[in-house]
């Protein structure tokens, strides 16, 4: 909401400085978003007269002017404007002045060899308009040497405040003045409401058929108006707040809206036929609004119509057809009350916003219809002439202003600030509240937002100054702070820092992806109805699309080794699962003098990350089993897997990205990826038990024995390892695969698998016979698993 200081002072008697007013506005909750003080920006530019204009000796298009700016000597100014001539009165900038439209600070300069001590300015150079055809020309009586903005009446600072949605009363200058007066920054002037002596009946009837949408419509006609330009004072204020003056009648409605927060509308009576009817739209009806657009209406929307059809979208925008024009002679002034909820619904449905909608949907003062109409009528007859008829007051506006029972001690209870009851009474009274001796408070009709005692507390403390509220420590529990992380949060933190410690960089990518990106993952269960773009539409069913996209962008920027992870949710039909996604691409190790050629990542690198992160997150990794992958089409079918606890609980899936999927994401080279389902990690049993299992190292050294087995080349290594480990559950504590060999000495279709078995003697050392017996068991178990001892 914009207004000027001068406009404010129409309502506020004050000696306060601009700065004090700005501080006051923010303090009471009307946050100042910006101030434009023309005297700070343009105060230096002066009215000046061109005495002589002579051709520039070196340039055809330039002239050398002698300019009188009220000083003892005329100044020499080089000027290129076509309209520069002797006798012209214009606006001069002198050395040291900053020209905003050019972003230049003037200095004494030689222009094509002739000294110039200033510049005659155009409107555009002063950012006062677009005109740049020539320099500004002022009337002959403009006083030479005075600041231009004073002469032009532009010195009024423009203040822009942000008005919160609860304060429709401050969407008019008067409401702002009232708040400032309450805060001690002046006195609210009385509002003069003219009494209009209408002559003759209003020539058009007004019928309200839709009292739910529009409970009251007050109106009257002014006959014989001349709708020319609005007076300069009004046009200037409207321009200052960013409104383009249109015609006196339209400008008056805008002025009253910005001045008093009271939207109005004017109809050209000649263009209406039959009674004005306030009704719901019929299905299929359209309205051609003043913005030139046509809107399709439905039965929930309130419209202003006549016998021929819909004119206005009630309370939101007037119709193109019946608006006031220069030819308007008889005008119907509309001052109505529209139901806020209905306006909000209609505005949302139509996607149409306007200054009127913003005010009606927040709730205008329901007790200000007759006065608003009188003020508007007076302005019309003053400015446009004409004769006012009697007013029609159709319908009844809702009674505004509730009654509350208040206890002034509530201020201290809720806000922690003690304010003397008499001071509270003074504050509330100055805001328009009525208070009786026992604190029955009547809320002013323009304060629809006040509906409880907490609201009164807010009024008191915002006017007193919220800064006065004393900082009060929260009571502290005894002892040191207790741990607060939930088990899931602990898992997330451990997983994150483990991944980072292992060299992965954490990214955060969008929760929504495109349909195409979701497709390889079976599509998403949740697609936005109103996405910001098709790329950000489907809630991700997997973290991989975001990571693959990021990897692609990094590759395009020349990254040669990509290790990314993200922790976030994947969005499923009935849950949001905490997930760690990871992606490895490019070089695992760069070429190096020690290791030779660059080494690529492979799918087992993802397995290593998955196991390490799961272990850190507290998953029972000893019990994990490798199964095939389940996300068909995402991973290379032969180079992917899941890690499960039992056949059903999948804790991780990973592998080499399917070449077709990689191509769909437009990424080159091998991409290794995986997801760890942190939400599937079983909760640790037992509470806060820090006591570890007793430490009991075996008294005897373990014994290690190596075995080499020949198995079918496609035999999963894990089958053999499990068989070997299970061969003697008492003594075999570990079996490590340390070599795989194919080639010379190994038959085609077979591989040699070398395993180191660790045996732990209990209370006495193994005898040769013991060792032979265990070896035999190992070989037997391996044989049963389809292997044979390599001779």
């Amino acid at each position: 909401m914009k207004f000027t200081l001068g406009w404010l002072k129409e309502h506020l008697e004050t000696e306060a400085t601009l700065d004090a007013i700005l501080d006051g506005l923010t303090k009471v909750g009307l946050e100042v978003e910006g101030v434009e003080d023309p005297s700070a920006k343009l105060g230096m530019f002066k009215v000046a007269r061109v005495l002589t204009a002579a051709p520039h000796p070196q340039a055809d298009k330039l002239q050398v002017l002698s300019v009188d700016v009220g000083g003892p000597e005329p100044l020499q100014v080089v000027c290129g404007a076509p309209n520069a001539r002797a006798g012209l009165i214009g606006v001069l900038g002198q050395p040291g002045d900053y020209v905003p439209g050019l972003d230049v600070t003037l200095k004494i300069a030689a222009i094509r060899g002739v000294e110039s001590r200033g510049m005659m300015c155009s409107m555009r150079e002063l950012e006062l308009g677009e005109s740049h055809d020539g320099i500004i020309e002022l009337p002959a009586d403009a006083p030479i040497g005075t600041p231009f903005i004073d002469y032009a009446g532009l010195a009024d600072p423009v203040i822009d405040i942000s008005v919160t949605p609860n304060r429709q009363d401050c969407m008019g200058v008067r409401g702002i003045a009232r708040d400032l007066a309450a805060a001690g920054l002046g006195t609210l002037k009385n509002l003069v409401v003219p009494s209009i002596k209408g002559s003759g009946d209003c020539p058009i009837a007004i019928e309200i058929v839709d009292p739910d949408g529009c409970p009251a419509y007050f109106g009257r006609v002014v006959k014989g108006v001349v709708n020319g330009d609005s007076p300069e004072w009004m046009a200037k204020r409207l321009k200052a707040v960013g409104q383009r003056p249109i015609s006196a009648l339209v400008d008056i409605t805008n002025y009253v809206m910005f001045d008093l927060g009271r939207p109005l509308h004017v109809h050209d009576l000649a263009k209406l036929s039959g009674p004005i009817t306030v009704r719901k739209a019929k299905a299929g009806e359209t309205a051609l609004a003043l913005n030139g657009k046509s809107y399709a209406l439905d039965e929930t929307m309130t419209v202003i119509a006549d016998a021929t059809g819909v004119h206005d979208i009630g309370g939101i925008m007037g119709g193109e057809h019946s608006g006031a024009t220069g030819a308007t002679s008889d005008v119907l002034i509309e001052c109505a009350y529209f139901t806020p909820e209905a306006i909000a619904r209609t505005g949302q449905k139509l996607g149409l916003t306007s200054d009127a909608r913003v005010r009606f949907e927040r709730g205008v003062d329901p007790a200000f219809l007759a006065d608003g109409l009188a003020i508007a009528t007076k302005l019309v007859t003053d400015i446009c002439g004409g004769t006012a008829t009697l007013a029609i007051e159709a319908g009844t506006p809702p009674s505004g202003g509730k009654a509350l029972r208040y206890d002034p001690s509530l201020t201290e209870k809720l806000a922690g600030l003690k304010v003397a009851p008499e001071k509270q009474r003074a504050i509330l009274t100055s805001l328009g509240f009525g208070i009786d001796a026992v604190w029955n408070v009547s809320v002013p009709s323009w304060r629809r937002d006040i509906d409880g005692t907490a609201d009164l507390v807010e009024e008191v403390i915002r006017i007193t100054g919220i800064d006065e509220v004393p900082s009060t420590p929260l009571p502290r529990a005894e002892g040191v702070a207790k741990p607060t992380a939930t088990p899931q949060q602990a898992i997330e933190r451990k997983a994150r820092r483990t991944a980072a410690a292992r060299g992965l960089n954490e990214a955060v990518t969008w929760s929504f992806i495109s349909e195409a990106e979701a497709a390889p993952f079976g599509g998403g269960d949740w697609s936005l109805a109103n996405p910001i773009s098709e790329d950000l539409k489907v809630m991700r069913p997997s973290l991989l699309p975001g990571l693959i996209g990021a990897a692609g962008r990094n590759a395009d920027r020349g990254a040669d080794s990509i290790r990314l992870f993200e922790i976030g949710r994947r969005y499923l039909a009935n849950s949001e699962g905490l997930t760690l996604g990871l992606l490895l691409a490019g070089d695992k190790a760069p070429r190096d003098w020690r290791t030779g050629k660059a080494q690529p990542f492979d799918a087992l690198d993802a397995k290593a990350e998955a196991i390490a992160i799961l272990a850190a997150a507290g998953a029972p990794v000893d019990r994990l089993q490798v199964f095939e992958a389940v996300s068909a089409g995402v991973y290379h079918p032969g180079r992917s897997a899941t890690l499960r606890l039992g056949p059903k609980t999948i804790l991780a899936e990973f592998g080499e990205l399917h070449p077709a999927a990689a191509r769909a994401f437009d990424i080159d080279g091998t991409v290794i990826a995986g997801e760890i389902y942190l939400d599937a990690i079983p909760a640790k049993r037992g509470g806060n038990d820090h006591i570890r299992v007793a430490y009991a190292p075996p008294p005897l050294q373990p014994v290690r024995r190596d075995f080499a087995f020949l198995v079918a080349a496609d035999k999963p290594a894990d089958d053999l390892l499990r068989a070997v480990r299970g061969a003697d559950k008492v003594t075999i504590v570990d079996a490590k695969l340390f070599d795989i060999f194919t080639g010379t000495g190994v038959a085609e279709g077979e591989k040699s698998v070398a395993i180191e078995v660790t045996l732990q003697p209990a209370d006495k050392s193994f005898t040769d016979a013991d060792l032979t017996a265990i070896s035999d068991k190992v070989v037997a178990a391996a044989t049963k698993a389809g292997a044979r001892l390599r001779g």
Binding site: K413, G416, P473, N505, R553, A559
Partner: protein, 363 residues
Amino acid sequence: MSDVEQLQSGLLAEIAEAGDLGAVEAIRVKALGKAGTVTGLLKTLGGMSPEERQIAGPRIHGAREAITAALAERKGTLETAALDARLATEKLDMTLPVSTGAQGSVHPVSQVMDELAEIFADLGFAVATGPEIEDDWHNFTALNIPETHPARAMHDTFYFPDEQARDGKKMLLRTHTSPVQIRTMMSQQPPIRIIAPGRTYRSDSDATHTPMFHQVEGLVIDRGIHMGHLKWTLETFVKAFFERDDIVLRLRPSFFPFTEPSAEVDVGYTRDKDGRRIIGGAEPDGWMEILGSGMVHPRVIAACGLDPDEWQGFAFGCGIDRLAMLKYGMDDLRPFFDGDLRWLKHYGFAALDVPTLSAGVGA
């Protein structure tokens, strides 16, 4: 000179001249081996009379000891020389470059969330979470934002199609973390102290807004909690977070449908010599809005099934991305969600930079 002395001096001279460990060993065998000369002398002791033995014994034993010692010493000298010679040939260019392995990093948003959890844990706040795909009752209605409230339109909400309504409630992406307030108050009895960090969404995209962003919600519900407690909590939090005591906060009256009274909070900044805004300074050069707050609206408390005459408290909400930017000096929000490794490595945090109160929550 006796035979013994002669033998001894001869052997010692040979030992001194022995050029390698083999020569030393040969001398040892020649003198002290089974058939060695000194061994032979020792054997003669057995055939002597006690008197003779008393004279010859010490001499022969002395010779044996002297030779044994000389052999050991010579052996040691030669071994040291051999080791020195070998080491002189073994050289590694210690100026060669080495790889320290890939350097991972933690995203600033995660780091700041951990910092918040740490600070608020000290104030007794637990960390709560809630769904990001919310229904309009939790996101709006329960928070005193009825359907036609202008504030609802101001939220630029992402909606899901009507067919996906659950229990007659329209589904949407939460526009703020405030629905976690509702879920918390409905699921546990006061006193309540929680923070709720997480992803939030609004259909807004420009230099300072992204359609997805992070917020942290704070909620305290208890008996006798007032705005002074809110102010203290925010001051304490902001000072702890930025690790400066000279931070000035400015509370401005504002409006949120779910709090009454409401206040927006600005933090004072000063400019460094490069003109960058630095949070803090007893005499601020300007103010930056960092959070919204207020006393929980009695209607919100009632909507959660609690008695607003018994329970009152405060709530606040704050942008985490913005907190990170203000603390660590990023000036653009968009790269937060791009996954650019250069940015992640520049602004990210080492895995072991775990925020703790004892070491400082910042890194």
